[in-house]
């Protein structure tokens, strides 16, 4: 943040971002375009872009002279029409924000969602070789700011597009919570008559090395060339720009903070991969229906996801339990918590809180019959999350509680495989 003094000095000479200014300070003279201030810049610093393209920070003291040499000229952005080809399928692109549609934000100096989905199409013109694109921005939030209302809004919009002629829907989404959104849509959207593909990028689209374009092109190919009727995530399969992997929406998890191939299917192999010249399916998948898509988007938002750790204080658990209708615990190993906590869990269940156990191992199934801790948890009334990801169980519990509050029905639904989130058995070689 610039100091008040500095802001005043700028105002006094009517210097605005984009103006060419001259700064004379300590006998040094600089001329350049006034840039927005970087969040981590010194308070007394003005950033200017020199004629050679470099930005530098110049310290401003009370003696510094600032002069506007030339006011900025606003450039008009060229608008292009999106071409339409009757022979090609129409794909709806629904923008939500996030890295795949991002730009440099001068307020924070970081990458922020800024591009419209339409801009995206123009930066990836190859899309128009595959399909007609119908693009809109539904909302623009950082994926960490996602919540129930956004998922509901998104589900309705997806159904609307699919029921009005789109062959499939591509949803560019920030990668941080992409798996949550894909889970939510998996439960909310029923009888899909087209593929719903969430796609992100781990290198922002402002870079020449961005993975956004390949992920997007692969998504469009999948819609255009297959009969898939599921909610899936399409992202880089490896660090190379070689192929993309199709992950089931309820099975996918971001497993690396920065790599392009961060997304992995957990507890089942990926559905398939998309290469430059073909699509290979490696397991059975949901085919699209011929009817209309139904939306069941009711969700109970008073659900918590708790990561158990040794030494966790009962009071902490209790304070969450008091405010929640449902809790998913990511327990240790086969699904355990401390003996002390079992009592607290039992009390909460008696009060009517629905509590589901998953494992923080992520891989493998919860089984509370093996050790006494587990048996005590079952006695206390906990619901087994089987081999669901903790995040998926969290979304599912919200959705289930949106449909019913009846304890046995909640339990039955939580333990039933609805949209591929639970598997019956896994063979040894499938650890993927």
């Amino acid at each position: 943040m610039r100091t008040l003094q500095l802001k005043k000095s700028l105002k006094a000479v009517n210097a605005e971002t984009g103006d060419t200014i001259e700064i004379i300070s300590d006998g040094k003279a600089y001329a350049g375009i006034l840039m927005p201030s970087h969040e981590f810049s010194g308070e007394d610093i003005l950033t200017i872009k020199l004629p050679n393209g470099y930005n530098i920070g110049v310290k401003i003291t009370p003696k510094t002279k600032i002069k506007v040499v030339r006011k900025r000229t606003s450039k008009e952005k060229k608008t292009k029409k999106i071409p339409f080809d009757k022979k090609k399928p129409t794909i709806a692109v629904i923008g939500t924000g996030g890295t795949i549609a991002s730009y440099v934000d001068y307020r924070t100096g970081a990458v922020h969602p800024a591009l419209t989905a339409q801009d995206l199409i123009f930066s990836v013109p190859e899309l128009t070789d595959i399909c007609n694109v119908k693009a809109k921005v539904l909302f623009s939030v950082l994926s960490e700011n996602m919540q129930v209302e956004y998922w509901q809004k998104l589900a309705k919009e997806v159904a609307n597009e699919l029921n009005n002629g789109a062959k499939g829907v591509i949803i560019p989404h920030g990668t941080d919570t992409l798996g949550y959104t894909s889970s939510a849509l998996s439960f909310m959207l029923q009888d899909l008559n087209g593929a719903v593909i969430l796609v992100g990028s781990q290198r922002s689209s402002d870079r020449p090395s961005s993975d956004a374009n390949i992920n997007l092109i692969a998504s469009a190919k999948l819609i255009a060339e297959s009969d898939l009727g599921e909610v899936v995530v399409v992202m880089h399969g490896e660090t190379s720009d070689s192929y993309c992997t199709i992950h089931r929406g309820t099975r996918v998890r971001k497993m690396h903070s920065s790599r392009r191939d961060a997304f992995k299917s957990i507890n089942e192999g990926p559905i398939g991969k998309i290469m430059a010249d073909r699509i290979i399916f490696s397991q059975d998948y949901g085919r699209k229906s011929s009817g209309k898509v139904k939306v069941k988007d009711k969700m109970e938002s008073d659900v918590a996801l708790i990561y158990y750790y040794p030494g966790m204080k009962i009071e902490h658990f209790n304070s969450i339990a008091e405010r929640s209708k449902g809790i998913v615990i990511a327990g240790t190993g086969l699904g355990h918590v401390s003996t002390d906590m079992i009592k607290a869990i039992g009390k909460a269940i008696k009060r009517g809180v629905h509590i589901v156990m998953t494992t923080q191992c992520l891989y493998g199934r919860v089984n509370m019959n093996v050790y006494s801790t587990g048996r005590d948890l079952i006695k206390a009334g906990i619901i087994s999350g089987d081999d669901m990801l903790p995040e998926t169980a969290y979304i599912k519990l919200m959705w289930v509680l949106g449909q019913t509050q009846e304890q046995e029905e909640v339990k039955r639904l939580m333990r039933t495989n609805l949209v591929g989130e639970i598997s019956e058995g896994r063979s040894l070689d499938e650890r993927a």
Binding site: K28, M35, H38, F40, S41, G42, I45, T47, L50, P51, N52, G53, Y54, N55, I56, G57, V58, K59, K75, K77, V104, D105, G109, A110, V111, S123, Q202, R203, S205, D206, R207, P208, S209, S210, N213, I214, E238, T239, S240, D241, S242, S258, R259, R260
Partner: protein, 642 residues
Amino acid sequence: MNEHDIDYSKLNLKVGLEIHQQLDTHKLFCDCESKLNEKKGIVFLRRLRPTQSEMGEIDRAAVAEAQKKLCFYYQTADTCLVEADEEPPHAANDEAIDITLEASFMSNAKIVDEVHFMRKVVIDGSNTAGFQRTALVALDGFIEVNGKKIGISTICLEEDAARKIEEKKGEVVYRLDRLGIPLIEIATLPQIRSPNEAKEVAEYIGSLLRATKKVKRGIGTIREDVNISIARGARVEIKGVQELKMIPKYIEEEVARQLGLIDVKNELERRGIKNVKTRVMDISSVLKNTRSAIIKNILSKTGRKVIGIRLVGFEALLGSKFCALPKAKKEKEKKSPVKRRLGAEFAQYAKTIGIEGIIHSDEMPAYGITIEEIKNIKSALDIEEGDAFVIAAGEEEMVRNALNAVIERAKQAIYCVPEETRDAQPDGTTTYSRPLPGKERMYPETDIKPIRIDQKRIEKIKLGLPELPERKMKRMVETYKLNEQQAEQLIDENLDIIFEQIVNKYGMAAVISRTLLNTLPELKNEGIDVNKISVDVLDNVFSQLHQKKFAKEAVPELLFYIAKHDADVYKAVKALKIEKLSSEEAERIIDAILKNKKELIKDKGMSALSPLMGIAMKELRGKIDGKIINEILKEKLKKKLS
């Protein structure tokens, strides 16, 4: 025209240099070592594409690269996720910033208050990110070379690019070991006026950077870009000059090339050619039964075409002395020296699209194309008197793009020399690489915080500033009575600090300089691991020598023993039996020698001195000063003979 006859001031030659010097620190944005390796490691594949900058414009150089649609393979041994563009950069290396500040002070440049890293778009694959991170640290400085002030426009700190290992059709292989090594870039103003002056300025900047003692040494660790312009020519940047002594040659060649192109332009003007009229035609059918091996070979594959263009009024301007195909070039070169003409320029533009080369009318007949076929080509392309044609063969879209590039280049020929970036070739010539990048190619690197250069840091740097190289040399010559060559060599080989450290304790400048400059390299040549001779070892050796524990002649032998046996000085002195003798003991040994060699003395008289000296030295080397042996021997021999 002979290059040496050129009056460069008349041509208004202006040369600016950009010196890139690798720093001897860890990498700029991660903790990997700045070390090249010969391993491949895991290899991955990427593609790059141009993007919009913050100003909403796409860089013209970036677009040119994108047209090539290349695959880039990266070898990753001993590098981390940062080099692979799979992890955001870490904070910039502080030591590298300090060295850049030092160099800024030494070249009288103004240091900025806050350093901002930028992303400079480069999509030739040399950076996995598609941009090079670079920051301007100081500007508006000057240096003095041979009494002339040369302005320093900017001093930047940037990351080195990946190392190109191999270039095949449609793909380039890079190794990531070099990517991210910190580079200082010092750019001069275009105030250099002759090829030789450019070399001197480059040498001076090199020595200035080496004075910091924190820069890398050896081949490839310093690289120059040379900006050249002449009156009526254009600004051309030659990239990647590795050998300093070649700088004048590149400048001479570039001036000659531009003069040639100005000739072409004048000739076009004389002919009244104001714009390029062309005709693009598929002439595959004309050459369907050709005996030209090159064309036959290409046409034998499916989907390949021969396409020709007519260039109205370009006859004889493409130059018959130069052939555009790589193999044919050598043959012709033997007969007459290559003179850069338009044909070569056309070929280089076409090659950047990905084809092997072009064939043009001025080199006909050649490549096995018959007179009859030439006639047919001309008729297919409607060639008239005064026209030229260019043909190319290969995959149709690529050939059409390549010929479009040729047409674009032909259009430029009418106006003047185009502004270009050119690659330095080992023979002193250059080849077209891409248009000069515009300034739009930079946008802020938002993953790295701006770096405040505060007063405290500046004061600290000022205190530790090294002496300017020429001043240091003068002082060393005067203080230690070295000759200039020794002083220069010590400074140049980074031995000056060790030298002064030891000399200031024990004196004996001559022995110490000889040891550092001659003895150590000799030992190394003999296969001795001279790394074992640390500064401490040297200090000990000279401390003992100072105390007259042995004679100075013993130093090489002593160091040899120490390095070979990992021994300390004391053990080595004992083992070699070089403890200094008293003169009395020496006399005794010499007496014994004289006694044994009576015959020799009788035969040769005083001339026996030299062989006797040899025998005496064999026994006494290192134990007593040679001069003393000589004196004793001379004395005793005289006595014997008298």
